[in-house]
Symmetry: C2
């Protein structure tokens, strides 16, 4: 089921490993920094340091995209930067709708890192009548009733859920029904979606809890014995 047989030798590179995909944005950002500084060439060692990974991993990751480096020399910064952008789809515009305009939703609406990477927030939606109509980040907050309309008019394929956990599944279903095929979920609840829809979850409390686990182990070293 849904096991699409991996092309072991396509021309550019079919089936980039998920772990690699998750690091491409990091490389892209590191390269943006080098572009800004006017650096022309970079070695895997330097780029790896800038991105916070080890060089072997970087080279293996890049090898999945093709041979964009020159042996004995390194990578041309501009060229690699563009190739990764293209691979990630950053050369096109993505319309995003944010549902839930609480503190987090506002932070997201104002976040400059989106706009500079081809993500355009085309809609802000909330249930709370006290916040509908308000101007946030240059957009007027719309009523949740108009969710479908906002998604369709904006042509959004990506939805961001920044609502309480209890509303997340319902909102998600309406987003998907309206045409959204990728969801970024900040609500602390698992989402069920049909095949073909991608969900990524960001859970702030989970991150702290993972840190707490390791933190606890550190103290335990002195205690055991």
């Amino acid at each position: 089921m849904s096991r699409t047989s991996r092309q072991p030798s396509g021309t550019p590179a079919r089936g980039i490993p998920e772990a690699t995909v998750a690091r491409l944005p990091v490389y892209h950002r590191a390269l943006s920094g080098l572009v800004d500084k006017g650096v022309r060439m970079v070695s895997s060692d330097e780029l790896a340091r800038a991105a916070g990974v080890n060089p072997a991993k970087l080279r293996k990751d890049l090898s999945h995209l093709g041979s964009y480096g020159t042996r004995g020399v390194g990578y041309e910064v501009d060229y690699l930067h563009y190739q990764i952008a293209r691979e990630l789809g950053l050369t096109q515009d993505w319309a995003v709708v944010i549902v839930g305009v609480g503190n987090l939703g506002r932070a997201l609406a104002h976040y400059g890192g989106f706009a500079s990477r081809g993500f355009r927030v085309v809609g802000l939606v909330d249930v709370d009548p006290g916040c509908v109509g308000e101007q946030v980040g240059g957009l007027t907050v719309q009523s949740l009733d108009r969710l479908e309309e906002v998604v369709r008019q904006g042509g959004a394929s990506i939805g961001v859920i920044a609502t309480p956990a209890s509303s997340a599944q319902g909102v998600c279903e309406r987003l998907v029904a309206a045409g959204v095929t990728s969801v970024l979920n900040f609500a602390p609840a698992p989402l069920a979606v049909p095949d073909g829809v991608d969900v990524r979850r960001v859970d702030l409390a989970v991150e702290l809890q993972i840190l707490a686990f390791h933190e606890q182990r550190k103290s335990a070293v002195g205690v055991a014995g």
Copy 2:
């Protein structure tokens, strides 16, 4: 190297896999929901569904903590909930300092999901004089100059960095020097830290870019041919 021979029958369980640790908070939250509903027993199938993972994985994960279930019956909700909390260190209090009181920092300061899991925000710090002195989430925002003081007085071992990328490394070094040993980094920059300090990174733009990658592939299906 570092292959500490697995205790096949130690009392609790040494060396829980990182992937398992990252899911324990999710199980813990699902169990919290069941506790609230007054559910007494739960099977791995039910709990797995509530947590959004598959049952085999759930059972394997739990087996790393010990044998907390009953064959043919399932898991006692309260007991498992407590055991996971203990394993994660949620039975103790963790003092957290947040650096950077922009939109995101504010969202974090107000986030109820922390307090309910033993995370106490004991300090808010920012460079901007226009925001120092302001009351946010029941705390007075302190000047960045007083960072070390705030960490020490609050006894914080966890620091949250919600500053721009350019200040992140500097803030991180000061946090660590003041006694912080775990860092949650929202700034889009890799952090270099000494051994013994844990860093987790949450990068909102990265998440969207990963979605964009898959989104692009979806459209490509119809285009290729």
